[in-house]
């Protein structure tokens, strides 16, 4: 079939401005009927803005949207729905205590005399589910089903509404590797059945795997559209970032020095349950090495870092930093003793979103003499400092130091936190998932910074869920499983498969015996 010019949706010359920034600058995106079209770009490149324009959440200053070749006006999401445009958001919009079926029909339910007609709805959903291979349990409550199934529910929601244009906003961010493979199959199946798919992502291998064409955005501009089969991951990353990207970190062998952090038989309570999340963990981190804590999410890594940083009380054991016992020290004392911390949750812990960028840059340091005099903040110094960090670490924002943190893109928020923590220049760096949700360009940058910190003689404790990151960046790997360290591995000698066995709890070393030997 030749569908060269059969466009189901065209966004022509879209321009959308926000105060101080052109989020979309003359962007054209043409979606062919029945294709999977990937939209690739760094954080803050304008992907979300473009989709919000398509969804009627924003009105563009310039440009035109066409459906089946006819110009349309989309003033709000209801207009988008009427045009059969549907979206699976990165964070699902489901009601946890409702059943799967009720979630699917919610807002589009057929009623007779005010009663919901579930029987026919069930038939339709079951049919769709069979046709597209979307296995769901219609009577289960959403809170009890896996993330992968929740996503299938979201897809069924779109299909139930007879949507023809399906937008997937970074759908793989929350999935396990097996679930990602399944999703790819589902997407291909949908396209075969004539649905047109817009796939927003910055994961190159997924785009190479599933898409027909790729449109690339960079800093709000349209860079180009290419056929996936005519391109490579390297070329795509160059288009996205604007220069060559190293997908593998280049680093010299570690030269560890004396011990900085010594943890002995540490226990940390879990906030949710009445048992210890960390059960007797012992390890050391030395100067000039990156030690990585690997593991599947929820095996006590977060709590371990909370215990080390002081956000959670330790229920047993000992933490020594440079020979000083800090097990029960308050957060400020630990910070002064030499712990910097890139937190896992940048919105909850890392930033005060309603503060400006410069205020966030001095979140710990605002009382130091360089920023405060007799209890008064030295605003000039804070501004100068923030400007230096913004420059050095390439933190991009609409209005520089006075930008509200909330209005910045996720990647630049993370860069701001990393700038702040690294610039404090402390002997120990705790970095928890420092590249989560970031694009390759930003990841490369952050990896380089972390390696540079190591080479300067800092002790780095990295917690990561990404196997690539673990293998690439670390000098030593500690695997955590159910609150314990079950193995210590050398990234140069181990394989991803072996690591996986430890992470799944299928294999473990007796570290105590080895330590004695």
């Amino acid at each position: 079939m030749d569908h060269e010019n059969d466009f189901v949706i065209e966004m022509l010359h879209i321009t959308k401005e926000f105060p101080g920034i052109k989020a979309n600058d003359d962007i054209t995106l043409q979606l062919r009927r029945g294709e999977i079209h990937a939209l690739l770009g760094e954080n803050g490149a304008g992907k979300s803005t473009l989709m919000s324009v398509l969804f009627g959440l924003y009105q563009p200053e310039q440009g035109e949207i066409r459906k089946d070749g006819k110009p349309v006006k989309i003033n709000n999401p209801n207009d988008a729905t009427a045009l059969h445009i549907g979206m699976v958001h990165q964070h699902f919009k489901l009601i946890e205590v409702f059943t799967v079926l009720d979630n699917i029909i919610l807002g589009a339910e057929d009623t007779k005399l005010g009663f919901v007609q579930r029987k026919e709805a069930r038939k339709k959903v079951e049919e769709l589910s069979k046709r597209y291979g979307l296995a769901v349990d219609l009577d289960a409550k959403v809170e009890n089903i896996t993330v992968g199934m929740q996503q299938r529910v979201e897809i069924l929601k779109m299909l139930y509404r007879d949507n023809e244009i399906l937008i997937f906003d970074e759908p793989t961010a929350v999935l396990t590797p097996q679930e990602i493979v399944e999703l790819m199959q589902i997407m291909k199946g949908l396209a075969r059945e004539g649905k047109s798919i817009l796939f927003i992502s910055h994961k190159l291998n997924e785009i190479m795997e599933v898409s027909d064409r790729v449109s690339v955005l960079r800093k709000g501009r349209y860079i180009g559209t290419v056929n996936t089969k005519d391109t490579t991951a390297v070329e795509l990353s160059r288009m996205m970032v604007g220069h060559d990207v190293q997908l593998v970190v280049d680093k010299a062998p570690a030269q560890p020095g004396e011990t900085v952090l010594k943890v002995t038989d540490l226990h940390v309570a879990s906030r949710l349950y009445k048992h210890d999340a960390v059960k007797g963990v012992s390890f050391e981190v030395r100067k000039g090495e990156i030690v990585c804590i690997a593991g599947i999410d929820g095996n006590g890594q977060s709590e371990l870092v909370f215990g080390l940083s002081g956000l959670e009380k330790c229920t047993g054991g000992k933490i020594e930093l440079g020979g000083v016992d800090i097990t029960h020290a308050p957060i400020r004392k630990r910070s002064e003793a030499g712990v910097s911390h890139i937190p896992e949750d940048r919105h909850k812990h890392g930033l005060v979103l309603d503060f400006t960028l410069e205020q966030n840059m001095v979140l710990q340091a605002f009382e130091e003499p360089r920023f405060a005099h007799m209890g008064f903040i030295r605003f000039g110094e804070v501004r100068k400092y923030a400007e230096r960090l913004i420059e050095e670490y390439d933190v991009r924002s609409g209005q520089g130091p006075i930008t509200m943190a909330r209005s910045m893109s996720g990647g630049n928020q993370q860069k701001a936190i990393i700038a702040r923590e690294i610039d404090r220049d402390l002997p120990l760096l705790l970095a928890v998932q420092p590249t989560r949700g970031l694009d390759v360009g930003a990841i490369e940058n952050i990896h380089k910074q972390i390696v540079a910190q190591r080479d300067e003689g800092k002790a780095v404790l990295l917690v990561s869920l990404e196997l690539d990151e673990v293998m690439n960046l670390s000098d030593r790997i500690l695997v955590m499983y159910e609150g314990e360290i079950v193995g210590e591995l050398d990234p140069k000698e181990t394989t991803v498969e072996e690591l996986g066995l430890y992470m799944a709890g299928a294999k473990r070393q007796d570290r105590k015996k080895e330590a004695r030997a």
Partner: protein, 418 residues
């Protein structure tokens, strides 16, 4: 970076949003006046027109001519009384605004206000002024009031910080405890006004002169005039806020230097929040308690400190109002809470929690009170009509953000049109 124009600044928009809220409130008040006037044969359309003029310009009303026409002009007594009544509103407004900035809803201002009133009255009326100079008694009484308010405010603060009890619940309960405690303390005190026969429901004005005397071996309290043969043990009272010439500027009013003290405190709070490390900490805790904790800021200490400061501010409102020397406190208050305490909430909302804005919104609220007074004095209307206006404004304050974005949209539409 592009320079933002005057109308695109967040501050300008906030002020505009407040003005829009006021305007709509006034319009709603006008509609109510019209409706009441037209349904009341005693008022009619002309009465309604008078009512509307008084609600808008009641501050300038000077009375009626012989032929019954309303007269308007500069009325120094109304102006002075407006400033005088603004003092407690400024203080409770600051109290609520400070709490809001730190993420705490201080609905405990009435209780703190009462605690401050009681402590300052107790000190002002108990310390013998023949020993201690009355200006010093005044000052100590103000401090005692603020201290009492700080202690009272810190109770919900401590409960919130260490037991995670919602401060709104704790504040509402401490309000009533305060009302009952104050009633009980004054009931067993010797500060009830026994010198004027009908006034025993009230506490002495602080300006009252009382002499503790011994007549025929019996100790008793008499007024300024000491009976012959009585031996004076101590003289109390005679404490009042200085006028600093304001009474000459606004003759016939109750105004005193309290308004200057209140403005000074508002400036101090503004500087505290905007310029100091303490203000930075409080705002950080308010905006994101978790991030503040992550950064090593002691969020628990800051919650208690904020509530104590807020309590001291509300209490200073009560102290300044009753230390004026020309107001008397109805002590049997266990069934009611002072409106000044609750009115701090609309004052702070209207000022969008800006301490300097609080001064203006408090003066505005007290102007509405004067207008209401004039309505009662000069027409058949009831002064409570101004409460409708306040209610509408408070209601709109909750939509302030909507109004702000609405103004923003209006601006950007204009920009497109150009």
């Amino acid at each position: 970076m592009k320079k933002t124009s005057f109308f695109d600044k967040a501050g300008t928009r906030s002020v505009l949003a407040s003005l829009v809220a006021i305007l709509i409130g006034m319009l709603a008040g006008g509609v109510v006046i019209l409706a009441v006037g037209l349904t009341n044969p005693a008022l009619g359309l002309s009465g309604a027109w008078e009512g509307i003029r008084l609600v808008v310009g009641g501050l300038f009303a000077t009375g009626r001519t012989a032929s019954g026409q309303l007269t308007f002009g500069f009325n120094p007594a109304s102006f002075g009384n407006m400033l005088f009544r603004a003092v407690p509103l400024i203080m409770t407004g600051l109290s609520v605004a400070l709490g809001n900035k730190a993420g705490l809803f201080n609905i405990g201002a009435p209780g703190q206000y009462l605690a401050g009133t009681a402590a300052s009255l107790y000190v002002a009326l108990s310390v013998p002024t023949n020993v201690v100079p009355s200006w010093l008694v005044w000052f100590v009484a103000l401090l005692a009031g603020m201290l009492a308010g700080a202690l009272w405010g810190s109770i919900p603060g401590l409960l919130k910080a260490y037991l995670n009890i919602n401060e709104v619940l704790a504040c509402i309960m401490t309000n009533w405890i305060s009302a009952n405690l104050v009633t009980w303390i004054f009931d067993i005190s010797n500060l009830k006004n026994m010198l004027e026969g009908t006034k025993s429901g009230y506490i002495y004005k602080t300006s009252t002169i009382m002499n503790d005397v011994i007549i025929d071996g019996v100790r008793q309290t008499v007024g300024a005039a000491v009976p012959e043969g009585a031996q004076v043990v101590a003289t109390r009272g005679g404490v009042a806020t200085g006028k600093m010439g304001l009474d000459q500027l606004f003759s016939g009013s109750q105004v005193n230097a309290g308004i200057l003290v209140a403005i000074l405190i508002a400036v101090v709070i503004y500087i505290l929040l905007a310029k100091t490390t303490l203000g930075y900490q409080l705002k950080a805790c308010g905006a994101n308690r978790y991030a503040a904790r992550y950064a090593g800021i002691q969020d628990r200490r800051n919650i208690v400190l904020t509530m104590a400061l807020a309590g001291a501010l509300a209490a200073a409102g009560g102290a300044l109002y009753y230390l004026s020397g020309n107001t008397e406190f109805f002590w049997n208050t266990y069934q009611s809470l002072p409106g000044e305490g609750f009115n701090g909430i609309p004052v702070a909302l209207l000022a969008i929690n800006n301490p300097l804005g609080v001064v203006f919104s408090a003066v505005f609220m007290s102007m509405l009170q004067i207008c209401g007074q004039k309505l009662t004095e000069l027409t058949a209307y009831n002064e409570y009509i101004t409460n409708v206006i306040i209610a509408v404004i408070v209601y709109l304050s909750a939509f302030m953000l909507v109004i702000k974005t609405w103004i923003g949209k209006l601006r950007s539409r204009k920009a497109v049109d150009k």
